[in-house]
């Protein structure tokens, strides 16, 4: 396993809440895809049924954190400053994928964009933009 893969497994494995929603991630070279397998517990609207918007937001936020952890050498987990989530389509009872793009990493702050999709990469179900505080990155 590559060093990045080791870090990714360590980061996600150490977060109890990532296990709670059943989130995983795969690396192809330096490109990470986060995976959220469908489970009945992540449903928010049982009528449609649709995945809870909060779970999709949480999944994308952790995708951003995981992407930062493999791209940057950090002593501590970055802290989320703010997130802006857009809901584009209802989350159907299927596996959800997400990829993060680090738009900018400064000395203290990182800006990350995330997109989540299900069957079609070109038809995203949700997107997130966030700022993260890179605690301990400089000391």
């Amino acid at each position: 396993m590559s060093e990045a893969q080791d870090r990714l497994v360590a980061v996600l494995g150490a977060i109890p809440y990532a296990r709670f929603i059943g989130m995983k991630a795969e690396l192809a070279g330096d490109e990470m895809t986060a995976i959220l397998p469908f489970s009945p517990e992540i449903v928010g609207n049982p009528m449609l049924p649709a995945i809870h918007g909060g779970v999709l937001g949480a999944f994308m936020e952790m995708t951003a954190l995981a992407q930062l952890s493999i791209a940057e050498t950090l002593k501590r987990q970055p802290r989320t400053i703010d997130v802006s989530i857009e809901y584009l389509r209802s989350g159907r009872p299927l596996t959800t994928y997400a990829r993060a793009q680090i738009k900018k990493v400064g000395r203290r702050i990182a800006n990350v964009h995330v997109e989540a999709w299900q069957e079609q990469r070109a038809a995203p179900i949700a997107a997130l933009r966030g700022h993260f505080l890179l605690t301990g990155a400089e000391d």
Partner: protein, 166 residues
């Protein structure tokens, strides 16, 4: 409908949203207050929900889900009859980490309702809403399931449109 009937309806919606939504149930959400466009919800602290194992602080994602859920209930609490709603966007500012070991509350207020959209502000806190962990601003679409039948998401998108409508 009388005011007591509306109050009862809001409490029933809150109960259905907390107990009928599997994720809300898994997180243990309960509604402490609902009415007049305001909803106050609680999520109990549990070690399974921790986001930073070094500090024991609950995951931001749990707060995201709580704020989304509380905001949805606030929208229902601003209306006199039930309609389906869906989150359009949700912006959250995290002011400080939650205190490890403590339950988290969220207070959401639907301050504006138009024919198609509801606007909500919400805060998450342990005991004092004036000292928030996080603040949120959200917009919801009203009548989001118009024409969609129960189980609509079990079929591929587009296939339900033909039979929907009217």
């Amino acid at each position: 409908m009388s005011e007591t009937d509306i109050g009862e309806q809001h409490r029933l919606i809150a109960k259905a949203m907390n107990e009928g939504s599997p994720q809300a149930k898994a997180l243990g959400f309960s509604t402490l207050e609902i009415g007049d466009g305001v909803a106050i919800l609680k999520v109990p602290y549990r070690t399974e929900l921790v986001g930073d194992p070094e500090t024991g602080v609950i995951a931001g994602g749990v707060i995201t889900t709580l704020l989304d859920h509380a905001s949805g209930q606030a929208v229902h609490a601003a209306m006199t009859s039930w309609t389906s709603i869906a989150t359009l966007d949700l912006r959250i500012d995290y002011m400080r980490p939650a205190e490890p070991g403590k339950d988290i509350l969220a207070r959401a207020h639907c301050y504006k309702l138009t024919r198609s959209v509801a606007f909500v502000r919400a805060v998450a806190y342990e005991s004092d809403p004036e000292d928030p962990i996080a603040a949120a601003q959200a917009a919801f679409m009203l009548d989001s399931s118009a024409g969609k039948k129960a189980g609509a998401n079990l079929k591929p998108p587009g296939s339900s449109k033909k039979e929907g409508g009217q």
